[in-house]
Structure formats: structure tokens, C-alpha cells
């Protein structure tokens, strides 16, 4: 009876081996061979070349800054949402998820319209005779695009961990004489760390690897590591180099996952 039920996992076992594990093995295979099929470390070492290491460095810097900005914006927001009455917060959480249903390419493109030299934001700024904002095609515009696209991924896990928190613990802290700051630093924040950790990974990984946001808001001048890999595959057709660079990228993803696993031992901060 039991073994019969295990058969139900058969399709998934097949699927995950065929479409998750084997493809990943292939990235490693292609990353370690040259065009002739001989073993080489060149594709990995290529990350050290000036243009690639620059792209990687820019990606790390921009995704790091966007993650911090997302955190700073999201934490107070999650706290406000978690403190609202149930009826209201269900609606508001939906309001924050709703933008995700509009195609993200179009949403990012709309920022182009807003940020342009004669765009909407500058028109408003000029109306109040304020200095105009020229950030389109700069790193600042890419950061804005990242924060805009990934903010919900930071808000939702933090909101979940705050909403799940036992109110009695907070009340107990107050009863025992802790003031608001003490309660926050010693009770609320430590208890919300699983949410923060999964929020940080949910923002950092897609920001580190994006090529779309930089292509739309950064002009074609700023290349992120994602843009380099995408070009190797779709334009240069150099799969070996593209795979080698992807392996380097995966090392960074795995590092950030290990850090989050250490900080969040129970794995309760998962987005779902």
C-alpha cells in the first residue's frame, strides 16, 4: 500500500531529474569545456577579464544598494500593515501584489517615460521650479527599477513573519517595563529575522542576475553580469563562455543561500 502511494511521486521524480538536475549538470559540463570539447578552466577564469569583472562588480554593487533600500522601505511598511485590522490589511496586501499582474517589462518601461528629460517627473519638478532630475540611463535609474520591481518580495516575507508574531510576547515586554525602542530591538526585530533573511535573498538574487532592468533603464552603456551572459547565449552563441560565467554567478547565489540558511535555521521565513 505504502509503496503504491510512492509511485505518485514518479512523474515528479522523472520531471525534476530531466528538467532540473540534468540541465544544471549541463551548465557545468559546457562551462568546463571549450568549443572542441576539451576540458578547460578558461570559461571560469574569463570572469577575471576587465570587462567581465567590471560587470560583475557593478551587478554586486547595484543589487547590494537596492537590497538595502528595499529593506529600509519595506520594514516600516510591513510593520504598519501587520498592525492594521484584519479586514483592512487583506485589502492592502492585495493592493501591493496587484501591480505584479501588469507585465513587468511594461511597468519598467513606464519608468522610462516618467524619468525622461522631458518626462512626467521633470515636468512636475519644473512646475514647482525645482531642479530637474536626470537619472535616466544611469546606475541610479537601474537601482530605482530594481527597488520598484522587487520591493513586494521584501515586504511580503517580513509582513508574514510580523503578522505571525505572538502579540503576548510584545505585551509582556511592555508589562515588564521595556520602552518602545527596547521592545523593537530585543523582541520584534529578532523574531522577524527569518522574514528579513528570506526577503533579502528574494531581492538580492534577482537583482544580481537581471538583464532586463539594465537593458530598459540603463541605456546600453551599463552592462550587468546578466547582460553579458544573455549576450553570450543569444548574440555571440558562445555557450561555453556563457555557461562558465553562469557557474560564477551560481557561486554567488549559493553563497547568499548558505548565509540565509545559517541565519534562518528553521526555514520558516520562506516566502510561501
Amino acid at each position: 500500500m505504502k509503496s503504491k502511494r510512492s509511485l505518485l511521486a514518479g512523474p515528479y521524480l522523472f520531471w525534476s531529474v530531466a528538467f532540473i538536475i540534468i540541465p544544471l549538470v549541463m551548465v557545468f559540463y559546457y562551462g568546463f569545456i571549450d568549443e572542441n570539447g576539451a576540458f578547460t578552466l578558461e570559461n571560469i577564469a574569463a570572469i577575471a577579464s576587465p570587462e567581465h569583472s567590471k560587470a560583475l562588480w557593478v551587478s554586486i554593487r547595484l543589487s547590494f544598494v537596492s537590497t538595502i533600500i528595499c529593506f529600509v522601505l519595506a520594514y516600516p511598511l510591513a510593520m504598519i500593515l501587520a498592525n492594521m485590522s484584519v479586514n483592512q490589511n487583506q485589502f492592502i496586501v492585495l493592493v501591493f501584489i496587484l501591480p505584479m499582474w501588469m507585465n513587468f517589462l511594461l511597468r519598467t518601461l513606464a519608468w522610462q517615460t516618467l524619468l525622461e528629460k522631458n518626462g512626467v517627473i521633470n515636468m512636475i519638478l519644473n512646475f514647482f521650479s525645482l531642479p530637474s532630475l536626470n537619472i535616466i540611463n544611469t546606475e541610479a535609474a537601474i537601482i530605482l527599477g530594481m527597488v520598484y520591481n522587487f520591493l513586494p518580495f521584501m515586504v511580503l516575507p517580513i509582513y508574514n513573519s510580523l503578522a505571525r508574531m505572538d502579540r503576548d510576547v510584545i505585551n509582556a515586554a511592555h508589562d515588564l517595563g521595556a520602552n518602545w525602542i527596547q521592545t523593537f530591538c530585543r523582541i520584534i526585530f529578532p523574531l522577524s529575522i527569518p522574514g528579513v533573511v528570506s526577503g533579502v535573498t528574494m531581492v538580492f538574487v534577482p537583482a544580481l542576475t537581471t538583464f532586463v532592468i539594465s537593458a530598459i533603464l540603463g541605456g546600453s552603456k551599463i552592462l550587468l553580469i546578466g547582460n553579458v551572459i544573455e549576450q553570450e547565449f543569444t548574440q555571440a552563441s558562445n555557450w561555453n563562455l556563457g555557461s562558465g560565467l553562469s557557474i560564477v554567478l551560481m557561486i554567488f547565489i549559493i553563497l547568499s543561500m548558505i548565509i540565509s540558511a545559517i541565519l534562518d535555521k528553521d526555514g520558516e521565513g520562506a516566502l510561501l
Binding site: L13, I80, W101, L105, L109, A110, F211, T234
Partner: protein, 261 residues
């Protein structure tokens, strides 16, 4: 005072999140073809949208992909959950670990890994390769929505049904399945949404001539987006908004697990 600041802060974030959406809606009524100029009010893009065969085909591809991939992923994922739930710890860890790979890995890596797979096996790129890719990244969403429900269900009701003479299949559909249903529904909905909004993985697994809305928009970014696209996304947005309002207004009992996305 505190309440005022809270409201003010939410309002600012709200403007930040919705400014681009408002922009797109305004652009869908813009008579001029370029985004830079306001040429007067028109609804002609909404009419031309339905006559634009390329966009309509991309829309139908997108919807079929989302529907099929979500359905297949729901079936495979739910079946897997039933089996994984009664496996020993080693197998469970293996399955949950594998499930986490597409969730945590970068989309670009998932995309190119599948592209390399298709290339090595000489598969021709087209609708089916995109569908396989979408099912792959959708299954984890289903498993992660159904698994918590599975754990909540008491084994005793199922055993009681067997004791009372029900066959295993009948007992499952009569006793276990109804309790799983909210989780299955959430999983399906998430899978559908993820498939609908995906660009990166589709970009690497699609063939020439087959386009979803996302890939169509991406190729148009450099040439200039057709205003019909704005009209279409406005329609989609309004439809989803109305659906959400109806769901939120309905007095149906809400499941706690459902709102956690």
C-alpha cells in the same frame, strides 16, 4: 499622529508602486504614437488591439501556456505531495531540496540550463519547449502551497474511511482531497500568475515565430512599443482588479493559508 504618519507612508509607497501603472493607462488613451508626447484623447487603440493579429496571437499563446502549464504542474505537484508526505526523511529532504532549486536559482540560469538541454537533445524550439519550461518552474509553487495543507490533515480520518469500507481511491477523494483543495487552488493560481508574468525563462526557451506577450514587448522595446500593448495591459489590469475586488467582497470564509503568497 502615529496613524497620520502610517497613512502618509503607505500613500507614498502606493504612489511609487502605481505611478508606472497610471502612466501606462494614460498612454493607452494617447492619440500620438510616441510615448514622449500627449496627442489628445482616443480610444482607437482599444479597437485596433482586437484587429492586431500579432498581439492577439501572443495573447492566446500566453494564456494557453499559463493555463496548460498551471494545470499540468498542479496535477504532477499534487500527486507528488501525496507521495512525499508518507516517505522517509531522506527522500523527503531530497524532494524538498530539488523543489527549492528553481525557486532559489536565478531565472537566467534556469533559462539557459533548459536551453542547453533542448539544444543537446536536438529539440526544435517552439511552443512545446516553452511549455516544458513553464511546467518546470511552476511545480515548486504547487508543491509549496499543497505541502503545508497535507501536513495539517490528520491521518485518522483517512484510516477511519478505510475501516468503514471505503477503497483507498474513494477514501482519498472523499476525505483527504476536500481538505487539500484550498492549497491546490492557491498553487494553481500562483503557477498561472508566474507563467503569465514570466519573461526571462521564456526568452531562452522560445523558438523563432512563437511569442508570448512578454517576449513580444521585449522585442518592441527598442523599436517602440505599439500603443495597442498599453490598451491590452490596461484591460488585463482592470479585469484582475475587478476579480480581486469581487473575491475580497465575497463573504466566503477565507482560508488562512491562502492569503500568504
Amino acid at each position: 499622529m502615529k496613524k497620520f504618519f502610517s497613512r502618509f507612508y503607505i500613500a507614498i509607497i502606493f504612489v511609487f508602486l502605481y505611478a508606472p501603472i497610471a502612466t501606462l493607462i494614460v498612454l493607452s488613451f494617447n492619440k500620438s504614437k510616441t510615448r514622449a508626447k500627449w496627442g489628445g484623447f482616443t480610444t482607437k487603440w482599444y479597437v485596433e488591439l482586437f484587429e492586431n493579429e500579432i498581439i492577439m496571437e501572443a495573447l492566446s499563446n500566453t494564456l494557453w501556456l499559463a493555463l496548460l502549464s498551471a494545470l499540468i504542474a498542479t496535477v504532477i505537484g499534487t500527486a507528488a505531495c501525496i507521495a512525499i508526505n508518507q516517505m522517509n526523511k531522506a527522500w523527503r529532504t531530497f524532494f524538498m531540496g530539488v523543489t527549492n532549486i528553481p525557486m532559489l536559482n536565478a531565472d537566467i540560469v534556469t533559462g539557459i540550463s533548459l536551453m542547453l538541454l533542448y539544444l543537446s537533445f536536438g529539440m526544435s524550439f517552439g511552443f512545446s519547449t516553452i511549455l516544458l519550461a513553464h511546467i518546470t518552474f511552476n511545480i515548486p509553487y504547487v508543491i509549496l502551497s499543497v505541502m503545508p495543507k497535507m501536513k495539517q490533515i490528520s491521518k485518522h480520518t483517512y484510516e477511519a474511511a478505510l475501516d468503514l469500507g471505503a477503497g483507498p481511491v474513494y477514501a482519498f477523494f472523499k476525505v483527504v482531497f476536500p481538505d487539500l483543495l484550498p492549497g491546490i487552488f492557491t498553487g494553481f493560481l500562483m503557477a498561472f500568475t508566474m507563467s503569465l508574468d514570466d519573461f526571462i525563462i521564456t526568452h531562452f526557451t522560445k523558438g523563432p515565430g512563437v511569442d508570448t506577450l512578454s517576449t513580444k514587448i521585449y522585442t518592441e522595446v527598442k523599436k517602440g512599443i505599439k500603443p495597442e500593448m498599453y490598451a491590452l495591459s490596461t484591460i488585463i489590469f482592470v479585469v484582475v482588479l475587478v476579480l480581486l475586488l469581487i473575491i475580497n467582497k465575497s463573504p466566503a470564509k477565507k482560508d488562512k493559508g491562502q492569503k500568504r503568497i
